[in-house]
């Protein structure tokens, strides 16, 4: 299948060198795919998709009132990472999460970093996600970001760069585990031969992390996953995680608070809840605390949290750490809190709140990618080089009106990975990113080997989000010492 494969000029390819030869750690999969006739591969592809669909490994599409569910398309050609490069990424991720945790503690505590003018105070305090109401509250287990997902991209030199941080409710880990099950069935020998590091222990590690941050050392710690309900787009994942940890999946109406203690309603009366892995936006957690106009949520939950009677993972208010306008300052945070240089590169970013940056952005809209700081999923974005004059005018107007809301970056030529192109029945280079997941307890951090590789299935596209025609790939991390 690699006979006619042409890496995209000017991009780093995840499986092959510029001359088309495999990298040392991709030789086995390269050989396997080379010997697979395209027709057979096409059959594997459709089998994989059918199996995901029948198993209900789906997400709901919001724009569609029919409650349509789609599978997150999978491309069976894996993305492979070498042991050495992964070890380096892993260290960078752990360092970053340590700093972000300290930053959040500081933000909701003494705000030293602002007083020392390392980060402009109005930038953080002006963030929509900075939650004044949690000032002074300390999370029971002492960790604000037990679960993080950091989006990485790879530039043409092969350097990984952080694109954005997700420290509120990063999603997608269920696809990592499910994708592995699918590819394992199809490439059984190859996975074994290539000595790929396992990912299926994630739910066990997550349960371990949640238990480690429980409010007290009660041996019967009751942990739950809190979902908005079956109509939420990520419901499959909520259910998946609860099932694989063997804990209950609850909706807000299943919980109530009495005397600053959280209970779940059961057929045999109320039962205390100690740890809540919440997959609900902060704004809908507790109507008494955040949104008096909202009927959703668990009234009194934040009271129990403030008293340290329940652990919420992740901590409410975390949004101010993954705000896109705060992102450019993470290297400064690392230096400030840890006294270390950051080891994971970032993407140079223009913060429109700064006048110089704004001026540059407005003059170079056709060259830049502009992002709204509080939007996600590929929405609220201007892809300058591919935009129309009208779209640029529209963004110009918006940036001038609300500069705090926008940042801009030069478009990075994302790395590509050979990807099955069903129309041409062959492999074509498609752009990918990577979302590794990091679990943190007071004992330290654990990084899931690999993470979620998202792929822009549309030719020429840079947008990998599932809502915008993205798919996913299994991510293989080579076991140390296997090549």
């Amino acid at each position: 299948m690699f006979d006619s494969y042409q890496p995209l000029a000017g991009c780093f390819d995840e499986l092959v060198n510029a001359d088309g030869s495999p990298r040392p750690y991709t030789r086995r999969i390269h050989a396997l795919l080379s010997s697979t006739p395209p027709r057979e591969f096409a059959r594997y592809q459709s089998l994989a998709e059918l199996s995901l669909f029948n198993q209900g490994v789906t997400f709901s599409v919001y724009s569609d009132q029919q409650g349509t569910e789609k599978i997150f398309p999978i491309c069976l050609v894996p993305r492979v990472l070498g042991a050495a490069e992964w070890a380096q990424v892993e260290r960078g991720l752990v360092q970053r999460i340590r700093a972000l945790n300290l930053f959040l503690d500081d933000m909701y505590g003494d705000q030293k970093i602002l007083k020392d003018k390392v980060i402009p105070a109005d930038l953080v305090l002006g963030a929509k996600a900075f939650e004044k109401k949690v000032l002074g509250m300390k999370p029971a287990g002492g960790v604000r970001i037990p679960i993080a997902g950091i989006d990485l991209i790879r530039d043409p030199d092969g350097t990984f760069r952080v694109l954005e941080d997700n420290v509120r409710t990063p999603s997608g880990v269920s696809y990592v585990v499910e994708n592995r099950l699918v590819t394992k069935r199809i490439f059984r020998e190859s996975v074994e031969m290539s000595s790929v590091r396992s990912v299926e222990q994630y739910p066990i590690e997550l349960a371990h992390t949640l238990r480690a941050i429980a409010p007290d050392k009660d041996p019967d710690v009751n942990m739950v996953v809190l979902t908005p309900g079956v109509y939420n787009s990520a419901y499959f994942e909520h259910s998946f995680l609860a099932r694989h940890m063997g804990i209950d999946l609850v909706e807000p109406s299943d919980l109530f608070v009495d005397d600053d203690t959280v209970f779940v309603r059961t057929t045999h009366g109320p039962k205390r809840v100690h740890v809540i892995y919440k997959r609900i936006d902060d704004a809908y957690l507790d109507p008494k605390f955040f949104r008096p106009d909202s009927m959703l949520g668990v009234p009194g939950l934040m009271g129990a949290y403030a008293k340290g009677r329940v652990t919420l993972a992740n901590a409410p208010g975390n949004g101010c750490a993954d705000d896109k306008a705060v992102y450019p300052f993470v290297p400064d945070m690392i230096k400030y809190y840890l006294g270390e240089e950051h080891t994971l590169a970032q993407v140079d970013t223009y913060v429109c709140m700064r006048d110089d940056d704004k001026k540059y952005v407005l003059e170079n809209l056709d060259k830049l990618v502009v992002k709204a700081v509080d939007e996600a999923g590929g929405y609220g974005m201007l892809m300058g080089p591919q935009s129309t004059a009208a779209q640029r005018e529209e963004f110009k107007r918006r940036i001038i009106a609300e500069p705090r809301k926008y940042i801009a970056q030069h478009r990075i030529e994302l790395s590509t990975c050979p990807t099955w192109d069903p129309a041409r029945e062959k492999l074509s280079p498609r752009r990918v990113d990577l979302r590794p997941f990091i679990l943190t307890s007071p004992e330290g951090s654990w990084v899931l080997p690999g993470g979620l590789t998202r792929v822009a299935l549309v030719e020429g596209s840079y947008v990998v989000n599932s809502s915008q025609g993205g798919g996913s790939k299994d991510t293989w991390v080579e076991r140390e010492g296997s090549t």
Binding site: G56, A234, D259, D260, R265, D281
Partner: protein, 335 residues
């Protein structure tokens, strides 16, 4: 277990049983139309009536349409407005299954999910038009498989007990309705022995009891034997007394302490037992009506008591649950 989950288990059981029963009844009625010289209207109309759908159906399609077998089948099979149509039952069951996915085995989940996907496929519509028997047969087989998987792959704990109780109570009401429907037609036709026989056969087919009955009575078909079989036979797993007893047994294992749903289910059982001694065929309609009504209200009592003995809370009364279908804006970056 969590109250909401218990309630969904209960309803999952009811929806699956309801879907199975609808498929069977539709199949049996199709067969009746061919077997007996009964005006077509008199075959299809009772089916709409026992489903409690006469008024909405007539409003939508007019009274004459009650004799239109195709329309009735479409309404009872596909209609999304009709909450008890086959399609609605399967969708509702699958919705429940999604919310209790952690209680179901993978095999069980895959079957209900595939049945739901089957009903949404274009090729299934073709099947429906080209081979109706096969269509209903597929639905019946899959729902029966699901019921089998419940017993053979689920943990026999509280979740399965709630689920199975739902199956049993739904079956009680369905059997009562089917018997009532045939009894009704019989009264109206009051006619020829051949018609009566066709109706009794249809009843047995509709309640999956044909061969079981024959084994017991070796061809001696009479109103008395038939009614006794469907109402009281404790070896027939669809008889009213069997299903009520089975439901009561599950309930007594869930709640050992007194609950009013338990007490009412026990007295309904006792009342049915009493009827065995004094039943006159003429009163069958009122007996069945009582069984259906009482079963319905026991079901709502159970749903109420599933909420558990909650204390009045001093702070943070949770207030009303969010309406289903209401989804919140999702957290950051869906994958």
């Amino acid at each position: 277990m969590i109250s909401r989950v218990a309630d969904s288990c209960f309803w999952f059981g009811r929806y699956i049983e309801r879907a199975e029963s609808s498929a069977r009844l539709l199949q049996a009625t199709r067969s009746l139309v061919f077997d007996a010289d009964i005006p077509v209207t008199h075959c299809w109309q009772p089916l709409v009536i026992v489903s409690g759908e006469e008024a909405p159906f007539v409003e939508r399609h007019g009274r004459e349409a009650l004799g239109n077998g195709e329309l009735v089948q479409e309404y009872m099979t596909w209609s999304r407005e009709n909450l008890v149509s086959l399609n609605s039952s399967v969708r509702a069951a699958r919705d429940c299954a999604r919310s209790i996915r952690d209680q179901l085995s993978l095999e069980l989940w895959e079957e209900i999910n595939e049945l739901y996907l089957f009903l949404g496929r274009e090729s299934t519509e073709t099947l429906y038009w080209e081979n109706r028997e096969e269509f209903y047969r597929h639905v019946r087989r899959t729902t029966q498989l699901i019921l089998g998987l419940v017993r053979s792959t689920m943990m026999h704990g509280e979740a399965m007990r709630f689920l199975w109780m739902g199956v049993m109570l739904e079956r009680t009401a369905q059997t009562a309705r089917i018997l009532d429907m045939h009894h009704h037609t019989m009264m109206r036709e009051s006619a020829h022995e051949i018609v009566r026989m066709a109706l009794w056969m249809s009843l047995l087919r509709a309640s999956s009891g044909h061969e079981t009955f024959m084994k017991k009575h070796q061809g001696r078909v009479s109103a008395q034997s038939m009614v006794e079989f469907v109402l009281f036979d404790l070896t027939f797993p669809r008889s009213i007394q069997y299903t009520l007893k089975a439901a009561a047994e599950q309930l007594s294992r869930i709640w050992t302490e007194p609950h009013s749903s338990r007490a009412r289910l026990n007295s309904l059982n006792a009342w049915v037992e009493q009827q065995k001694k004094e039943l006159e065929i003429g009163q069958i309609h009122s007996v069945l009506t009582y069984v259906v009504d009482e079963t319905t209200s026991i079901c709502s009592k159970i749903s109420e008591e599933i909420q558990g003995p909650q204390r009045a809370t001093r702070v943070g009364d949770p207030g009303p649950a969010p309406a289903s279908g209401q989804s919140q804006s999702q957290s950051q970056s869906a994958p």
